[in-house]
């Protein structure tokens, strides 16, 4: 996670994105934009790219880096499912979504710091909106 914070992947280059969504947390001054591009392939719509830009704390940046890394090349349906499961898991706890990568599991560490939860969620929520503009925005603790 620290590595993602210091060397974030998929940062910048939102010019090519098809859908851009913004996430803000006035509590921390975090502001992030995520952008995705979708390609139609044999197996359905696939995320050709997922990138982000913005400023935030290490948790926020690492989470954005990990999230975009994880989603890239997934089908849209899988990506929607994963973002949903991850946001639920951050909030409610319980068992990790099955089959997630160690990087994703590392994000769970923030659950020990409720104050950081919203930082970790920011990119996921923005991505979730980008992927599925009809989804209800979940309310987050302040």
């Amino acid at each position: 996670m620290l590595d993602h914070a210091r060397h974030p992947r998929n940062r910048g280059g939102l010019e090519l994105a098809e859908i851009v969504r913004r996430g803000r947390n006035p509590q921390c001054g975090d502001e992030i934009e995520v952008g995705i591009a979708v390609a139609r392939q044999a197996r359905g719509e696939v995320l050709a790219s997922a990138r982000f830009r913005g400023r935030g704390c290490a948790v926020c940046i690492a989470s954005a880096s990990i999230a975009t890394d994880a989603l890239c090349a997934m089908t849209r349906a899988d990506a929607v499912r994963l973002t949903r499961e991850m946001t639920r898991w951050f909030g409610a706890g319980g068992a990790a979504p099955s089959g997630i990568s160690p990087a994703l599991q590392a994000l769970a560490l923030v659950r020990d710091y409720p104050a950081r939860l919203r930082c970790a969620l920011l990119a996921w929520q923005a991505l979730s909106e980008a992927l599925d503009p009809d989804a209800v925005k979940p309310s987050t603790p302040g």
Binding site: P26, Q27, D112, Y113, P114, A115, R116, S139, P141, G142
Partner: protein
């Protein structure tokens, strides 16, 4: 039951002189379990809630939110966010009046209360109704001395916005049919607030089953610390509430002339939370559940029945409220003809029997009864039959001392 809890209540040993504490409806004594949960918070290192990034602060936040979840569970609230910590029952009811009713009430709308209500469940409605041009209506007592919900015509009428009633009367011990009222109100889209201040210690509260909109009580009347209470607000009503007290911890973004708020419950908890109070509050819920609220209720009801029997054997004693047994929560109000209630309580107090006398913050009820006040004995887990003997002896002594004839 007293023997079972003897060790839990240091006041039984530490009080100077014999003490028959029968003012439990005003405030209860605290068991060690609560005192210790409480002082542990202060000894072990304090930290601010909701705002820290170091482990101690994360723990303070976790403890505070765990207390909220514990109390949500205690009252059967489906979601912890529906539990707002306040200073007291009074504070909770004012919050509903100012954050919800102020916005909801239109001129001509009606708010109903019963004749029995405590000032804390009467004045906020009087004030907000005046302010909004709404009408405060009173459910009067019927022949049997209970609020006559059926006689209150238009109670469930189209102009009614809110029915605010106590679950248990702090003067008469009457248990109101809150479940039934809530059911009928629900069917007509009328909101119901339950003042559970007197119910919290000795009656099972289940907001899920009750299906009420708001419910309020204080920790200090249920063996918990003073200075903290809670408001349960059902999610749909919560969404209708505006911020009331504003300040740190409840704002999301402060704008030039307008601001945005964090979600409930923090939205309604401006200022540094009383974390130790919340932990003590939850410890009180643990204590009650360990004994069993059912057993506690049965114990205080049995004592009240017995007190009623014994007092009624003293001539010139008049008892208010239900006269059948098993009908009242652990509260008995009475008067001695020819004696002012204050004088009875003072004589009793000098004998070590702690009674409350006066209007008990229920002037509307006193006016209805045509009296200036009553003497009240109210029971708790640590009381037993010997307290009732002492009570009756004190009343007899007051008669001898003060009645010249």
């Amino acid at each position: 039951m007293r023997r079972q809890v003897q060790e839990d209540f240091p006041f039984l040993r530490e009080a100077a002189g014999p003490l028959r504490y029968l003012d439990n409806a005003a405030t209860t004594q605290k068991p060690l379990q609560v005192i210790e949960a409480f002082s542990r918070c202060y000894r072990a290192a304090c930290a601010p809630v909701h705002r820290g990034l170091y482990p101690l602060a994360a723990r303070a936040t976790a403890d505070y939110e765990a207390a909220r979840r514990r109390l949500a569970q205690f009252i059967g609230a489906p979601r912890a966010e529906e539990v707002i910590f306040t200073r007291s029952a009074t504070d909770s009811i004012n919050l509903v009046a100012c954050a919800w009713a102020r916005r909801q009430l239109r001129p001509g709308d009606r708010v109903w209360v019963t004749r029995l209500e405590h000032h804390s469940n009467f004045l906020p409605w009087q004030k907000i109704c005046r302010e909004r041009g709404a009408e405060l209506r009173i459910i009067e007592l019927g022949r049997d001395g209970r609020p006559d919900f059926d006689a209150a015509s238009e109670l469930y009428g189209a102009r009614t916005r809110l029915i605010a009633i106590s679950q248990v009367s702090n003067v008469l011990g009457i248990v109101n049919p809150v479940q039934q009222v809530a059911g009928r109100a629900r069917a007509r889209g009328i909101a119901v607030l339950v003042d559970a201040a007197q119910a919290a210690a000795h009656e099972r509260i289940d907001v899920g089953a009750l299906d009420c909109d708001f419910l309020a009580f204080s920790a200090h009347k249920m063996y918990g610390p003073s200075g903290i209470g809670l408001l349960y607000a059902a999610a749909p009503r919560l969404a209708e509430m505006e911020p009331f007290i504003v300040g740190g911890g409840m704002v999301d973004e402060v704008g030039e002339s307008e601001s945005t708020w964090v979600p409930a419950p923090a939205r309604f908890e401006a200022g540094s939370p009383d974390a130790a109070g919340a932990v003590g509050f939850a410890a009180a819920a643990d204590y009650l559940d360990a004994i069993g609220v059912g057993a506690l209720g049965a114990h205080v009801r049995a004592l009240a029945d017995r007190a009623m029997r014994c007092l009624s054997e003293i001539s010139e004693v008049e008892i208010y409220g239900p006269s059948q047994e098993g009908q009242r929560a652990g509260i008995v109000s009475f008067n001695v003809k020819g004696l002012h209630p204050h004088d009875v309580a003072q004589v009793a107090g000098e004998e070590g029997v702690a009674l409350r006398a006066g209007h008990h913050c229920c002037q509307p009820l006193m006016k209805h009864l045509g009296i200036s006040g009553t003497v009240r004995a109210s029971f708790a887990v640590y009381n037993d039959e010997s307290d009732i003997e002492a009570l009756c002896a004190a009343v007899r002594r007051a008669r001898r001392l003060l009645l010249s004839e």
